[in-house]
């Protein structure tokens, strides 16, 4: 890890009172949900992190609370440095401010996170589903979403399962 990223992380820690975690040379900052927009804006305007390379989420249910972590990967073209932000979020209907005002490309990322994890982004201009059909119920990448769809047919239970299958008519 070089000096620039060390200084950046240290000054952000001091300014916002954050924790950092390091894993194999990659550094991430733990950011509370209400500070995410400020932190992103500071990184973009004051430290040159001009690219939001990825925005994603993880569901740690049932092992951890808070169950969701939102992950932002920022990249600085000028300094060729990367930094990650992790935002822990709790509850079954979590929400946090949208960063579309800072990084416009967060728009579709946040739509996908809403679609797949059901995390609401306040201030998002167009928070619709992006992958699943609009009338879909539930958020499929949550760990408590049912995994399978149909029982597997074997010779001994074929008639039973096949009798329940919907077949299209002409």
């Amino acid at each position: 890890m070089n000096e620039y990223i060390n200084d950046t992380v240290q000054s952000l820690k001091d300014r916002f009172g954050l924790q950092s975690i390091e894993f194999r040379g990659d550094i991430s900052l733990m950011v509370p949900p209400d500070k995410i927009v400020e932190v992103c804006r500071a990184l973009r305007d004051d430290f040159g992190f001009d690219v939001l390379a990825a925005e994603s989420a993880v569901d740690y249910w049932p092992e951890q609370t808070p169950r969701f972590h939102l992950i932002y990967q920022l990249y600085s073209m000028v300094h060729n440095q990367r930094v990650g932000l992790r935002v822990p979020l709790d509850g079954n209907a979590p929400s946090l401010p949208s960063v579309t005002g800072v990084y416009p490309n967060a728009n579709w990322h946040e739509r996908e996170i809403w679609d797949m994890f059901g995390v609401r982004f306040e201030g998002h201009p167009d928070l619709r589903r992006i992958i699943m059909p609009y009338d879909w119920e539930g958020h499929p990448l949550r760990k408590d979403y049912p995994l399978g769809y149909e029982e597997v047919e074997f010779t001994f239970n074929f008639d039973e399962i096949d009798g329940r299958k919907p077949y299209a008519k002409e």
Binding site: M132, P133, W136, P140, Y145, P146, L147, G148, Y149, E150, V152, E153, K165, P166, Y167, A168, K169, E170
Partner: protein, 160 residues
């Protein structure tokens, strides 16, 4: 099937109406261009010169459902795609047939999850299922010949 009887040099052949109609139907059954996944690659290969689907009167994959008689569902159908599939099927003029090509189209294949339709027979009526992941061109041709046999077996009663 074939021409039952030739009447000398008069240039007249007699056969039953069913046979004439089924002959016409089986020998100009244009498939719809509807590739959804890796099965489409095999479908292209079936169409191409090595296997040459035009031997069976399928010169063209029609890009429009209005001009096609046969829908080859080549690949897994997602839940989002299912309404589109049904709409395309409804837009095809009668008579029309459906081949479910490959395991995914037939029964969901390896994708036993929320996103994939577990067999397109939930959405459209299927005439022939072709097994394989993906099926080789020979298997698809076998499916098409099986469908042709099915069509040749149809009678006036079935059309009514």
């Amino acid at each position: 099937m074939g021409i039952e009887q030739k009447l000398g040099n008069m240039g007249v052949a007699t056969l039953r109406l069913e046979q004439a109609v089924n002959w016409a139907r089986t020998n100009a059954m244009w498939p719809m261009l509807f590739g959804l996944a890796c099965c489409a690659i095999e479908m292209m290969s079936t169409q191409a010169s090595d296997n040459d689907l035009s031997r069976f009167g399928m010169e063209l994959m029609r890009a429009s459902p209005r001009q096609s008689d046969l829908m080859i569902v080549a690949g897994r159908v997602s839940r989002k795609m299912a309404p589109v599939l049904r709409r395309l099927y409804d837009q095809m003029p009668d008579p029309k047939w459906v081949i479910a090509m490959g395991d995914c189209a037939s029964c969901g294949g390896v994708f036993n999850n929320y996103a994939i339709v577990q067999g397109v027979d939930e959405v459209v009526p299927v005439d022939v299922y072709v097994a394989g992941c993906p099926p080789r061109p020979e298997a698809l041709i076998h499916g098409i010949i099986t469908l042709h046999e099915k069509v040749r077996g149809e009678t006036v009663k079935d059309w009514a």
